[in-house]
């Protein structure tokens, strides 16, 4: 999303202010900060801009009238309030009927462009979107799950690669409370509700005028040096995307869902459709080792609460595996394979001392067995008691965390 950060940064403020303030483009830029990312979103923008001028017109008309009356009829010595009619039927009818007509027009126009946007075309590709406290994932048509990551601030957020010019029907579901999937650039949002599917159709255009186009690093070295792709360091760099141009769009969670509601963001990267099949193939999970899977799972689902270098909402993962820990009821357990598996499936059973249970309730959909095994493998790799998989001494986490202080 391209947002002008400085409102004073009006283009050509000096020379053509007068022209500007009456120009639709100028105000569109002021309001939206950037172009809409699809034709139907553009339609919504047009509707919005129409409403904007409608409101401005009525407001200015009424306020000018008010200001005029207030000045013209201000209290003056030796002048009393003049007599004037206290009602006037034709006038009153007029100002009831005229707004009614306008409002009817607004309703129909809004309804029309709404239907355009919520009814998904027949050629739409279906993808499943799942939201939970506090992240998102997409399951692509080939069964692969979104795995890519980037950062906003230092917070890892998922990246969804989708093809341009291809309607995509998201079938959405929440694992816990209500969320809402909002793509501001598409001017669209839809609630994501537990125990019920909702759908939303997204359809990005090719990069539109005014949109910033990014290029995926052509080589892994370039990616390593670019903070935007830092999360792709190591074997997470995706060769299938090398050099591909894409546009970036924010996703926000727009339904209040608790502590990290404001952190529950994602990035959609829209790539030219011809690269999409290859990308899909590249992320198919079949070819990955358990350790890689575990690392991906941690990043996409666990890292918001579990750090590997310090406490967070949940216990730290480094040196968790194989060690003995104390639990709120005073008991002590060694975190072995079975214990970890149980803690994932029944998080409330044993709660680590000093923490409360904030885990997302487990479901097969959230973490299939394969992923659980991956997580265990990953935990081993960062624990001093991890057996064969363990590093010799104090482990250096596998993801460039070493750069952190």
């Amino acid at each position: 999303m391209h947002v002008t950060s400085n409102i004073l940064n009006m283009s050509g403020l000096g020379d053509s202010l007068l022209l500007n303030v009456f120009g639709n483009r100028f105000w569109h830029e002021q309001w939206f900060g950037g172009p809409a990312a699809s034709a139907s979103a553009q339609e919504a923008d047009d509707m919005y801009m129409w409403l904007w001028w409608f409101c401005v017109a009525w407001f200015v008309f009424l306020m000018v009238l008010m200001a005029y009356f207030v000045v013209a009829y201000r209290r003056r010595p030796r002048v009393i309030a003049q007599r004037s009619a206290a009602h006037n039927v034709p006038l009153e009818l007029a100002w009831t009927i005229i707004p009614t007509l306008f409002l009817a027009y607004i309703f129909f126009r809004g309804f029309h462009s709404y239907m355009d946007r919520v009814v998904s075309p027949g050629n739409a590709v279906e993808m499943n979107l799942t939201g939970w406290k506090w992240s998102w994932k997409i399951e692509y048509p080939n069964g692969a799950e979104s795995t890519a990551q980037t950062v906003i601030g230092a917070r890892p957020v998922p990246v969804f690669y989708v093809p341009a010019e291809q309607p995509i029907k998201l079938r959405m579901n929440s694992m816990d409370v209500m969320h809402a999937f909002w793509v501001p650039d598409l001017r669209l949002k839809q609630d994501v509700i537990p125990n019920r599917y909702t759908t939303m159709t997204i359809n990005f255009d090719k990069p539109r005028e005014g949109e910033t186009v990014h290029t995926y690093p052509a080589t892994q070295e370039l990616a390593d040096n670019d903070p935007k792709y830092r999360e792709f360091a190591g074997n997470l760099y995706n060769k299938a995307l090398a050099g591909v141009e894409y546009t970036e769009h924010h996703v926000f969670c727009a339904e209040y869902c608790g502590t990290e509601h404001s952190e529950m963001a994602a990035i959609i990267r829209v790539i030219p459709p011809q690269y999409f099949p290859e990308y899909l193939e590249s992320i198919g999970i079949g070819s990955k080792t358990p350790l890689e899977i575990g690392q991906i799972v941690w990043k996409s689902k666990c890292a918001s609460c579990h750090n590997i270098d310090g406490a967070n909402t949940g216990p730290e993962w480094r040196n968790l595996y194989g060690n003995e820990h104390e639990y709120t009821d005073g008991s002590k357990f060694v975190a072995d394979d079975n214990f970890i598996r149980e803690s994932i499936r029944e998080p409330g059973k044993h709660i680590r001392k000093g923490y409360t249970n904030q885990m997302t309730p487990w479901s097969e959909n959230l973490l299939p067995e394969k992923h659980v095994l991956g997580v265990i493998e990953y935990m081993k790799s960062i624990s001093n008691k991890g057996g064969a998989a363990a590093p010799e001494s104090a482990p250096a986490p596998a993801t460039g965390e070493a750069e952190k202080k």
């Binding site: 309001w31 509707m47 309804f111 125990n195």
Partner: protein, 587 residues
């Protein structure tokens, strides 16, 4: 609290309702057990202003936190965690505090300030006076609803002291039924809203009956001041809508305590049903908030321009119209969680409600035409109301329009919209009404210059705070966000600055009022030249309101033909000629 003070100072005006009944203890006891609508109104007024202050402080905390984007930074530390205790380890703690503060702010402002505000304070005090009655229909019920209000507020304060709740004022399920699972806080807060609902019902019911049964002899329905009409309409909504939130909150409490499952998707329940129930109340209630405000504005505009209100019947009927239509538009809060058909129906109905409102605005502006407009503080506030409420109402249109609401829903655009209508509408109307009736209530004038200055500061601060938020919303800033992407920072900063300007404005108001209570010039019986019956009572009114039962001999706004009772040109420098001409016409 301030009640005792006010009473003590009222001693000068022998025989007024403020005259103490004896020593300090006796007086306090008298106030605590009074069934006099005026005293109850005054107690409500101070309680509500206090709550407004609390809610305002919470708002400032919210705004202060939003000064910086508060994202986890690259080094893994967190910036801008202004709210979090120093030892906070993670971003989570800071967010939790933020979430509690905006919930607190919203819940206080809605349930404890703006819903009871005008009816319970100014309405209580002036409704009987304007009808020429000695009291409301059920004085003891009135006292009861005051105590229920206090109990409800105590529940809320209890949950705040116990660390607060983080559900948002809408208590959406399943979040509200699962958050903070081992604590009573949420139950306390929901109970508070439930109990306050009772207070609201009893007040509304009392007023409806009062209007039906206690009008002065000779006063027909269309001789009533428009403020009375407005309070009446909002009373009807209170009576009809509040029980639904009652049962909803009750079920929510059951849900939390006993897991009955009605709103719990895991047990087959339906969280969207909760939203329907909630908005079935909470939409009509926004008109409970605004209608009395509109009533005040109608009265203030007429009195301070010495002009018969334009389209009296249209205004009166449109109040009823708004009350009626308000019950069938609740779905416009749920466009993103309902079926397309339902959305379309509710969108259409939403526009219906804009029509009677537009009619009122036109009537108000037409009232100014050929008036004799004086720039008293109440009038300035009334004009501010017209300005701000128009913006608030007009921005309701893009929200009611389906295709644009998909973008704007739950964004700062909504936040800006409802502050423009609630704060720019209702709060400005309270300020107008308070300045209009202050002399009658406490028998003293206030310093108009400083009051008007404060009003202008509030006006500026308000726009700085909230106009920016329209832009934020359209650009993609979701509401209820403790942190945001850095691109939004400039707007947020402007908004935060504005909120501090607001603080300055309100503090100045507070000083002006205190100053007036202590050293204010004595007010005459009718400082503005109003024609409605409260101006026939002495200033401040005596315990039983009127010496003799007043008769309704003229309409509430018949400035053409009537001399305002108790007119004192000294207080209200109007040309002597004016008075003479008016007298000649009238008698």
């Amino acid at each position: 609290m301030s009640a005792a003070h006010a009473a003590a100072h009222g001693a000068h005006h022998g025989g007024s309702y403020l005259t103490p009944k004896g020593g300090f203890i006796t007086t306090v006891w008298d106030w605590m057990t009074t069934v006099d609508h005026k005293k109850i109104g005054v107690m409500y007024l101070f309680a509500i202003l206090f709550m407004f202050f609390l809610g305002g402080v919470a708002a400032l905390v919210v705004r202060t936190e939003l000064w910086t984007p508060t994202r986890t930074t690259e080094a893994g530390t967190i910036t801008g965690q202004l709210l979090a205790p120093a030892d906070a380890k993670s971003v989570a703690t800071g967010n939790d505090w933020y979430n509690r503060f905006f919930t607190l702010h919203g819940a206080i402002m809605v349930f404890m300030v703006i819903v009871p505000s005008i009816p319970a304070s100014l309405g209580n005090f002036f409704l009987p006076l304007m009808l020429g009655a000695k009291d409301v229909a059920f004085p003891r019920l009135n006292l009861l609803s005051w105590y229920i209000y206090v109990i409800g507020s105590m529940f809320a304060v209890g949950s705040i002291i116990g660390n607060g709740v983080d559900t948002g004022w809408t208590f959406y399920t399943p979040y509200s039924t699962t958050t903070d699972p081992n604590h009573w806080r949420v139950v306390f807060m929901v109970t508070a809203a439930f109990v306050l609902g009772f207070s609201s019902i009893l007040t509304g019911l009392n007023f409806v009956v009062t209007v039906h049964k206690l009008r002065a002899p000779g006063m027909g329905w269309f001789d009533m001041p428009l403020f009375v009409w407005a309070v009446y309409s909002s009373g009807v909504i209170q009576v009809l809508a509040t029980p639904v939130i009652g049962i909803t909150l009750l079920l929510l409490i059951f849900e939390r305590l006993f897991n009955v499952g009605i709103f719990d998707p895991a047990l087959g329940g339906d969280p969207v049903l909760y939203q329907h129930f909630f908005w079935f109340y909470s939409h009509p209630v926004v008109y409970v908030m605004i209608l009395p405000g509109m009533g005040i504005i109608s009265d203030v505009l007429a009195v301070h321009s010495q002009k018969k209100i334009f389209g009296y019947r249209a205004i009166a009927y449109s109040s009823l119209g708004i009350a009626g239509v308000s019950f069938i538009v609740w779905g416009h809060h749920m466009f993103t969680s309902m079926s397309e058909v339902a959305s379309a129906v509710f969108s259409g109905l939403t526009f219906l409600v804009a029509i009677p409102t537009a009619v009122k605005v036109f009537n108000w502006i037409a009232t100014l035409y050929k008036g004799s407009i004086s720039f008293t503080t109440p009038m300035v506030y009334a004009l501010i109301f017209l300005f701000l409420f128009s913006i608030g109402g007009l921005t309701g249109l893009p929200l009611g329009t389906l295709s644009t609401d998909l973008h704007l829903h739950d964004s700062y655009f909504v936040v800006a919209h409802f502050h423009y209508v609630m704060m720019g509408g209702t709060i400005m109307a309270i300020m107008a009404g308070l300045h209009h009736w202050w002399p009658k209530m406490f028998g003293r004038m206030y310093n108009q210059f400083w009051a008007t200055t404060a009003a202008i500061i509030v006006f500026i601060g308000f726009n700085v705070t909230f106009f920016t938020q329209f832009f934020l919303g359209v650009r993609g800033m979701p509401r209820r966000y403790a942190s945001f992407i850095p691109e939004f920072q400039d707007y947020h900063r402007i908004s935060t600055i504005g909120s501090y300007i607001l603080l300055v404005g309100f503090l100045l108001h507070l000083l002006v009022f205190l100053h007036s209570l202590v050293v204010g010039r004595k007010a005459s019986q009718n400082p503005w030249g109003g024609l409605t019956m409260e101006w026939e009572a002495s200033t401040p009114p005596s315990e039983h309101n009127f010496e003799h039962e007043p008769l309704c001999k003229h309409g509430p706004y018949d400035y053409d033909t009537t001399v305002p009772p108790g007119w004192d040109p000294k207080d209200y420098p109007i040309p002597a000629e004016n008075l003479r001409v008016a007298a000649a016409v009238g008698h």
